[in-house]
Symmetry: C2
DNA sequence: AATTGTGAATTCCTTCACAGCC
DNA sequence: GGCTGTGAAGGAATTCACAATT
């Protein structure tokens, strides 16, 4: 019953995911051993960063040798909690919801989209091309329990996003991926990750004019 | 001909976009004046942060009073380069490309999706529901010039993403939004922003198991 | 000899706290 | 009095550089 007191930053966690993907790639190419140096070169970052990130969870390497690709991969999967299967439910069977449901490659063996939810009578009880059912959002609570959904994707318009989020939280969901470009209230213990495409585009726009402005 | 020497961080730029959205909202609600304090409260952040972010670009406020919502909004639009219209081209007319092309609300008056590109003969020369044309990716260079496309969205599988990116860069595009979960080589002067959903899901997964691990 | 794991140094980002101004 | 703009302080993240280890 030991507590890890050090708080691990989001930046570290996100990099672990990137390391893991790289290790998957190396595994497929038959690479068995790798140094932080080589891994860093592939990912365009500093080798000390990789070692520091890993050090927060234990000692996975061998001095003078490096890391076993397979072993490190298993460790990262465990740390990230993808040594088990997560069940994803998507609310909003519009283009965005469909895109995520169907997008190949996102969900190897770690994630499975089990259902979409919508209130549009035209969509309910149909399925996606891959056969994922589209259900009535009224049955959300029931279905979350029945199918053990543990991650919800919010693909609904900003205008209703907070109220849908509140529902989902009330049901007991602890992890939500949101695409609505807005501010939310989320209670303690619930993780909300927002993918804000507006911000991404604005950032690109800025980069396009940044030079002009500087030589203004 | 004065150069701004201070480099402005991505974090600052991303926040400016968030401030702008909030100001848009305030404008719609008839609010004319706001203090950094009030703005910070709405966005769950520190008022000094807002003032510091803005200070990097000039003095937009009035001491003792606050900021004019309309004026600050215009200034932010100019800084972010969205006081002009950007033309977006989407490569890959799959679910993801379609979702972005059709997604309401992303593209107010600042962005316009002018075309999608694909190599699938079944899709070429059709249009999206909203009437955006799907063109042959072979005509990419020509169309980018003809339509003054300045932002490209990569909605293609990871396996071909680097080669498509190379093409796009060769044509002279300087801003790319990418959804393929992978590492890229990008030359100096080209801004590549990656939205990596794998990382987002892994981060959610981690949050679900983090507690268990800590009380291991 | 090579590479990890890590304290120290550095760089970057955020927050404090207050002078300056309306 | 109230709020901005900002130097100084504090905190976080990254990188350096080297002792420890195989």
């Amino acid at each position: 019953m030991v507590m890890k007191v050090e708080k691990i930053s989001e930046l570290t966690i996100d990099r672990l995911s990137v390391y893991l993907r790289c290790l998957d790639f190396l595994t497929n190419n038959g690479v068995k051993q790798i140094s932080s140096q080589e891994l860093a070169a592939q990912l365009n970052l500093n080798s000390a960063q990789i070692r520091k990130d890993l050090a927060q969870f234990g000692e996975f390497g061998v001095r003078g040798v490096g890391y076993s690709v397979g072993k490190l991969r298993d460790c990262l999967k465990h740390i990230l909690g993808i040594d088990r299967l997560h069940k994803i439910g998507i609310i909003g069977a519009g283009n965005l919801g469909m895109a995520i449901a169907e997008y190949e490659g996102f969900f190897g063996t770690n994630y499975s989209v089990v259902a979409l939810f919508d209130s549009d009578i035209e969509k309910i009880n149909k399925t996606t091309k891959r056969g994922i059912p589209i259900l009535d959002v009224k049955d959300l609570a029931e279905e979350i329990k029945k199918s053990s959904i543990d991650i919800i994707v919010l693909g609904v318009p900003a205008s209703v996003a907070q109220s849908v989020l509140d529902q989902v939280v009330a049901i007991g969901i602890k992890a939500v991926l949101n695409f609505a470009p807005m501010q939310f209230y989320v209670p303690e213990g619930v993780k909300l990750k927002t993918v804000d495409l507006t911000v991404s585009f604005d950032s690109l726009s800025h980069s396009l004019v940044a030079n002009e402005h500087e030589i203004g």
